[in-house]
């Protein structure tokens, strides 16, 4: 590898226009990237990491179990999130943003803020199952989310919703 030396800083702060379309090459692969290996294992450059083991561990296909095995690590067992102001993990319980099923699909597939994407970590089946569970169990949105919904959102490729602590 050739270490890239940093370019010099601009002398004056630039005027910033957000014209560039965010890069979502990873999402384009969503339909096929159903590997069990974690995105964290392919950072592009060598992070400190455990080695070949635990990222290949199998995750359930059942919605509640996916929630317990993956999501509750951050969103907590009661889905109420936590933390302190300025460093919050959003609640999923009673979260109005989940009324629109596309919203959690986008966030789970693409990540947002500190939350990584789970496209490539979980299968589309697992993602559909867990979103169905979270919307139905911790909220009052009983209509199921399907793999077809995920395919539809992936094809439309919408931007990640712009908010820092949605759900609060």
């Amino acid at each position: 590898m050739t270490p890239a030396l940093p370019p010099p800083d601009p002398v004056e702060p630039k005027e910033y226009a957000m014209t560039r379309k965010p890069h979502f090459a990873a999402l384009a692969l969503a339909g096929m990237a159903l590997v069990t290996c974690a995105t964290q294992a392919t950072p592009g450059f060598a992070q400190d990491r455990p080695g070949p083991g635990g990222s290949t561990v199998e995750v359930s296909n059942q919605g509640q179990e996916v929630y317990e095995q993956i999501c509750q690590a951050c969103h907590m067992a009661d889905a109420k999130g936590g933390g302190e102001p300025g460093a919050m993990i959003p609640a999923l319980a009673g979260n109005k943003n989940l009324a629109d099923k596309d919203y959690p699909i986008i966030v789970v597939m693409k990540g947002r803020g500190g939350m990584p994407w789970f496209n490539g970590v979980l299968t589309k089946e697992q993602i559909a199952a867990v979103i169905t569970y979270v919307r139905g169990h911790f909220n009052a949105y009983p209509d199921p989310v399907t793999v077809a919904d995920i395919d539809r959102v992936v094809a439309a490729d919408p931007p990640v919703p712009e908010c820092n602590t949605c759900g609060h």
């Binding site: 890239a4 950072p43 992070q47 070949p52 990584p116």
Partner: protein
């Protein structure tokens, strides 16, 4: 050139070459000066001559923040640091008996014996992380070898050997032997005649025979010669039964199923190669050594709520998390090392591009679990001294302590260090259930002793640490291309630093290299202003 009689310093020379010839020339020159091959580190920044009275506000007292404060103070700046926690060091962190681990949703009291510890964050320093090693030396941090590779440690895969772990040594030798035999067969069958010259074919066959320890028929079979690599049914001894008895290699299929090639590949990575080091007594001795130099500058328990700047200076508004008092701190310049998942939630006066970069930087998760055992049964009963045993279970690995070999009394094993799904699984458990899972899973390696010798455990789930909400920045090639330069660019009077602002993600080396780069640019801009 105005002063041909004074030999330039190496740094000045490199700067000159860089200006004249660009990055490629600079890199080549650095290589000749024996630096670039292993590290971009060319020595501490040696900044000097700050304008009298100029001030810098550093956000975060982790390694990046404290290096910035240390070096900028030497350069003549007046520095203040605001730190969210009641301790310095950030992810440079060690827990010991008497400590409390506070996660979102739980608290643990650590009861390890005197001298025992867990490094929940960084735990090993490759020999080429020259920035970390430099500052360890400069600040008087004592280092000792970290035992990275142990051929007598184990590899466990649920799909191989009926779930029975096998020594890395045997699997590694068998992998080499089977691959050599297969390559030999391909060569002898003429399958590679269009790919290799006749001369190379001859040498390759000879190499496969020696490297793979094949027999005269190019078969990978049991032999005395092979026993010298993979071990014995009966090891060599003295007297009547001195003659060793070789044992049978594992089958190709079982060897493949073990996944040993992944371990070989892992240890072949530059950042995983030996020699490795660790600070004696715990990784946090590095943070403590920096802290000793900058302690008076740190305001603890201070949560930054707003970051602003204008053409005169920078302002951080904050709340004291102990007293509830609020305040503002002003300075001429700012180094912000707040981790992206938290910075993302702070009112930060920055360009849309900078904010987009921060927002596009999720943090991966990791969990570390320390298990204190009554005695070093891995040494006394299994001749395993340091190193790592790998598993495909959620815990991912266990690692045996590098220090204190042959001592009596309790010792702490690293009982889990996963990324990915395994890390989420363990993090989502209560601390008590994490320990139970670590004991259940780790027992595959040492079933007779693991639970019987257990004393106490402690765990850290990084995504639940309230001051960072994750382990470290999770870049991709795409997000690097779209956002990295926007993240690290100095904007007005503010520059960001930390491992997330480096290509050494998740390493202390990245935090320090990023900080040196950031303060060097800050100083240049301050002197030009």
């Amino acid at each position: 050139m105005s002063d041909v009689f004074t030999p330039p310093t190496r740094r000045a020379l490199l700067t000159m070459i860089g200006k004249a010839g660009g990055a490629a020339a600079l890199y080549q020159a650095m290589t000749v000066l024996a630096h670039a091959a292993d590290s971009q580190f060319t020595g501490p920044p040696r900044l000097s001559g700050a304008r009298p009275g100029s001030t810098v506000l550093v956000l975060g007292a982790g390694l990046a923040g404290m290096l910035a404060a240390y070096e900028l103070t030497k350069a003549g700046y007046k520095v203040q640091i605001l730190e969210f926690q009641g301790r310095a060091g950030g992810r440079n962190y060690t827990v010991r008996g008497g400590d409390t681990i506070t996660e979102i949703g739980s608290k643990q009291q650590v009861t390890f014996a005197q001298g025992n510890y867990l490094n929940p964050g960084p735990w090993r320093i490759p020999y080429h992380h020259r920035t970390v090693l430099h500052y360890c030396k400069e600040l008087g941090v004592q280092l000792e070898p970290f035992l990275q590779i142990n051929h007598n440690a184990l590899i466990h895969n649920r799909k191989a050997f009926g779930g029975k772990p096998q020594p890395y040594r045997e699997l590694m030798v068998d992998w080499k032997g089977h691959v050599s035999e297969l390559l030999g067969k391909s060569l002898n069958a003429g399958a590679l005649d269009t790919a290799v010259t006749a001369e190379d074919k001859t040498r390759l066959l000879e190499a496969m025979r020696e490297w793979g320890v094949l027999d005269k028929n190019m078969q990978y079979t049991k032999s005395f010669k092979l026993g010298e690599q993979r071990g014995w049914e009966r090891v060599p001894g003295g007297g009547v039964n001195g003659a060793p008895i070789p044992n049978d290699p594992f089958s190709l299929t079982e060897t493949i199923n073990s996944g040993v090639w992944q371990t070989l590949g892992f240890f072949a990575e530059h950042v995983m190669q030996t020699t490795m080091f660790q600070p004696k007594g715990g990784m946090d001795h590095i943070g403590k050594a920096f802290q000793a130099r900058v302690a008076k500058m740190i305001r603890f328990n201070t949560r930054v709520t707003k970051i602003a700047q204008d053409d005169k200076g920078v302002t951080a508004a904050w709340t004291d998390t102990k007293t509830g008092a609020t305040g503002e701190t002003h300075a001429d310049w700012m180094v912000c090392t707040i981790p992206a998942p938290v910075l993302n939630q702070i009112d930060f006066q920055a360009s849309a591009q900078k904010k987009a970069a921060i927002r596009a930087l999720p943090y991966g998760n990791s969990v570390k679990i320390g298990l204190e055992m009554k005695r070093r049964f891995w040494e006394t009963d299994h001749a395993i001294y340091g190193g790592i045993s790998f598993t495909d279970q959620a815990i991912s690995l266990i690692s045996y302590p590098s220090a204190g070999c042959f001592t009596d009394g309790p010792a702490v094993l690293l009982g889990a260090y996963p990324f990915g799904a395994g890390a989420y699984m363990l993090a989502g458990m209560t601390p008590e259930k994490r320990i139970q899972a670590a004991l259940d899973q780790g027992s595959v390696f040492h079933p007779a002793e693991y639970k019987a010798e257990f004393l106490s455990g402690a765990s850290v789930a990084w995504n639940r640490m309230p001051w960072i909400l994750g382990c470290c920045a999770n870049w991709t090639e795409e997000s690097r291309a779209a956002h990295y330069q926007n993240l690290v660019a100095m904007e007005g009077r503010i520059v960001l630093a930390g491992e997330h602002c480096s290509y050494y993600g998740c390493w202390q080396e990245g935090a320090l290299l990023s900080s040196i780069d950031a303060i060097t640019r800050l100083h240049q801009r301050a002197m030009a202003a």
